[in-house]
């Protein structure tokens, strides 16, 4: 199964991602290729996961585990099989957050095995205006448990136009991936979250203008 997953990602997903989106990577040298490590990215589209899975060198692909919402991806048996076996997700039971249950346990387990966790700290897809939502601190709790694991900030630009939330047909559009310098565990969660947000904002500022044009009536950038 592991081999099928490797073939699927390298020989099917990767050519599709390149052809459909270009998938230009900036700052590739910042990408951790050995686990345990955490990749923290912004989230606008299912295409985000596709881009992140296909940007790594072959030797790191087997280690990649995207953290994904169990309530969304594991309810349908077919989608569930695909998500678990081929995408290799670590399920996060978003709906049980705050019940006292440790919803990050599967992600911690994966990190303990030396995997690379891909996490979207916004917790859900944004509205494709490429405005970052509030970051949830699950990523900081994982980093606290594995202080030696680097946290690499990744800004994904353009995926929200290829397949926005609610759309079903992906439209070919260029996407760029900006990888920032890994953040070492700074000692407490709040400092990590601040560093992560600053790093993502800095990467966003470098990204080419691959976003929707909003007209002024929307007050698009007013809220910041």
């Amino acid at each position: 199964m592991a081999l099928i997953r490797l073939i699927f990602i390298l020989l099917i997903l990767r050519p599709i991602a390149r052809f459909w989106t270009g998938a230009d990577v900036f700052g590739r040298e910042n990408l951790p290729t050995k686990g345990p490590a955490i990749i923290a990215a912004n989230h606008n589209s299912h295409v985000d996961t596709l881009l992140l899975l296909t940007m790594f060198p072959a030797r790191a692909v087997m280690r990649l585990r995207p953290a994904a919402a169990a309530d969304y991806f594991l309810t349908d048996p077919v989608v569930g099989w695909f998500s678990r076996r081929l995408i290799g997700i670590v399920p996060i039971a978003r709906d049980r957050a705050g019940t006292g249950e440790d919803i990050l346990a599967p992600a911690r387990e994966a990190l303990a095995q030396g995997d690379i966790i891909i996490i979207f700290p916004e917790g859900t897809r944004g509205d494709a205006r490429d405005r970052m939502g509030r970051l949830k601190n699950g990523v900081a709790r994982l980093a606290e448990a594995f202080p030696d694991a680097p946290v690499a900030p990744v800004w994904l630009q353009g995926a929200g136009r290829v397949l926005p939330k609610g759309a079903h047909v992906p439209v070919p559009m260029n996407c760029t991936i900006h990888v920032g310098a890994p953040i070492a565990w700074p000692g407490d969660r709040a400092r990590l979250m601040t560093a992560l947000r600053e790093a993502l904002d800095a990467l966003k500022a470098q990204a080419p203008p691959l976003r929707w044009r909003e007209d002024d009536a929307d007050g698009a950038d007013g809220a910041g």
């Binding site: 353009g158 136009r161 759309a167 439209v171 260029n174 760029t176 203008p209 929707w212």
Partner: protein, 328 residues
Amino acid sequence: MSDVIAAALRFAEAVPAPLVWGLGAVLAMLTAGALAALVLPRLRPGVDHGDLRRRVNSWWVMAALLAAALLAGWRATLLLFAVISFLALREFLSLAPIRREDRLIVLLAYLTIPASYALLAADRYGLYLVFIPVWVFLAAPFLMACIGQIRGYLPTAALFHWAMMTCVYNLGFAAYLSRAPADHAPQAGGAGLVFFLLLATEANDVAQYVWGKLIGRRKIVPKVSPNKTWEGFIGGWATTAALIWFAGPLFTPLHGVGLAMVAALLPLAGFAGDVTMSAIKRDLGVKDTSALIPGHGGVLDRVDSLTFTAPLFFHLTVYFCFGETPWP
């Protein structure tokens, strides 16, 4: 085994001699470039020559793809140009200021690529001429109106038409040259026409750059392209015009007034395509249209001159050599 060798020999014999010499000359230039990329870092250590190396490596890949397509025949050439059109259009539409309700039109814009290239493959030149400039020109704005898209209606309709005209319609002419029958282009066949168009266009880009680097002082379009100079433009124009005047008769049926017209106008068209795309990039605030080709930028950065030179070369060649219409 002997069948394979015999087939290979037949294939090699079928390739026109000028094309073989032309591709050989390109190979020699690429080798010189590769040597320069190897030697320069030794002569001038400390300066980063990574960009030169990436640039030369990318030239090898592009030349190999084009040579393979030209040798494989017109079907492969059309396919390669369809892919180039797709990549260029994807880059253009990704950078253009479009809105979320334009997604459907974006998808339809891509569909003009298989439609246009299918018309070229079927040799339906008359239909190709009117497909994007007339039918798509009428249909796309109507469709936008049907889906209730009225905000910024006219700029958006114009943007999509401009994108399809440059990236699909204009580049299609370069590919269609490969369908010229042997009796129309006895020098080196249709492949020779495509080869010569690409050679002249890229030589013009390189010559303008080199002359500008060597003696460039007076800026020609400072607001759009601050690196372009009068010296680069004139030096590039003279170099390319001479190349076309002397090498043109080897690859194309052009001669006399027609040849002189192509020699005089093709470098101008190349410059115009380059400056026009620079104006668009400057408007959008980007330097390159993508990072697909290491050392060069995006596909659109590489083919910007070609979007102007291809229709010019095609129509001048047809007018002066074949009469009012081409072959079908």
